[in-house]
Amino acid sequence: MISALSLFDLVLIILLLWLAWHLLSARDLFRATVLFITYGLLMSLAWVRLKAPDVALAEAAIGAGITGALVLVALGRFGEAESDEAEPGSLWLRGLVASAALGLFALLGWAVWSLPTEMAGLKAQVFERMGESGVENPVTGVLLNFRAWDTLLEMAVLFLAVLGAWSLGEAEEPSMPAPGESLLALVRLLIPLIVLVSGYLLWLGETAPGGAFQGGAVLASGFVLLLLAGVRPIPSLMGWPLRAALGSGFALFLVVAVAVTGGSRMLLEYPPGWEKGLILLIEGVLTLAIAVTLGVLFAGGRPPASPGAGKRGEKR
């Protein structure tokens, strides 16, 4: 008899393929959006079944809290200009595209098939030296110590993404209904919980799945919620404090990376005994930087030059 778990996996895979097909072929953008949100949540379950709870947690936080809202807001901005009734290309062209896609699929399938089924990777080395990492969760150990270089560069990528978004223009003032009583009540209830859970996930990263990215994504959904409820950011914080927060993750990481160098130690090689403290410091700042970065990306542009500040400048 097939076990319930393998049936679960089978249904999950069928659902993922079915959703992917329908969301790509949907002509109605809203339908595609809802399918995309569901797809993200199902992907989180797929990561769970692949026994990667760290990724599942990140996918849940980003999928439920950020991308869903982001795609919905983008759809709201499209408004009526959505129906894109593109003419399907000629049969010849479609055949060409289909065979190219099938060829790529076959190539990828072959690559996956030819992988050895039992692959330890670098797992043994990581577990052997976990004691030196300063933390107990191997994923955090790899991300913040053994391969901290990758995480440092990821922060640079996030920072560059904000620079790119800001250079495109100012964040538009969205037209939306005034928040009702229930929405305000929800925000009042959720924001403290979001802050709490974000801190909890950050702290958890030392011993269990969690950490700066998960905590940061949850905190960022708090910003998303505030923006959606029409809560305006404090203007005096939109100048250099915002920019400082955006750059803080990358900057602090870089400072630590360089500061620990010296003698026989290489870049990012924490001195023995300092690992845990340094990792906690970096993760704490990273959480805030990631949250602000994602929040700013959700707002979709640089903060508009406040009219008040402009007028004051003119008087002088």
């Binding site: 379950l45 769970v48 939306m176 979001i194 996930l201 959606l228």
Partner: protein, 97 residues
């Protein structure tokens, strides 16, 4: 039947209810119906994760369930605040034509 089989069986049942609710995403008819189907998955997802966490003996999944439950409302708020009105108007228009 072992206890973990029992948890997996219930998780499978919840996943099947999600699959059935996807019919509403495709059929609609209003955008609200579609959105609520996605919201239902937020709720069922919490149940599935709690059951899998017990069955697979991975307590970390309870934290994933916590995040699911906490943030499920964010997409719904985005929908109500930014999409809903224009969506309903559009549907009213297509009904008239």
């Amino acid at each position: 039947m072992t206890m973990s089989e029992f948890y997996f069986g219930y998780a499978l049942f919840l996943l099947l209810t999600v699959a059935i609710s996807l019919i509403r995403v495709l059929r609609g008819p209003t955008s609200g119906d579609r959105m609520l189907s996605a919201q239902l998955f937020g709720t069922s997802g919490v149940g599935i994760l709690l059951l899998l966490g017990r069955g697979m003996e991975m307590p970390a999944l309870w934290d994933v369930a916590l995040v699911f439950a906490l943030l499920a409302a964010v997409a719904a708020v985005a929908f109500v605040q930014r999409v809903w009105k224009s969506g309903e108007q559009k549907e009213a228009k297509s009904d008239a034509s």
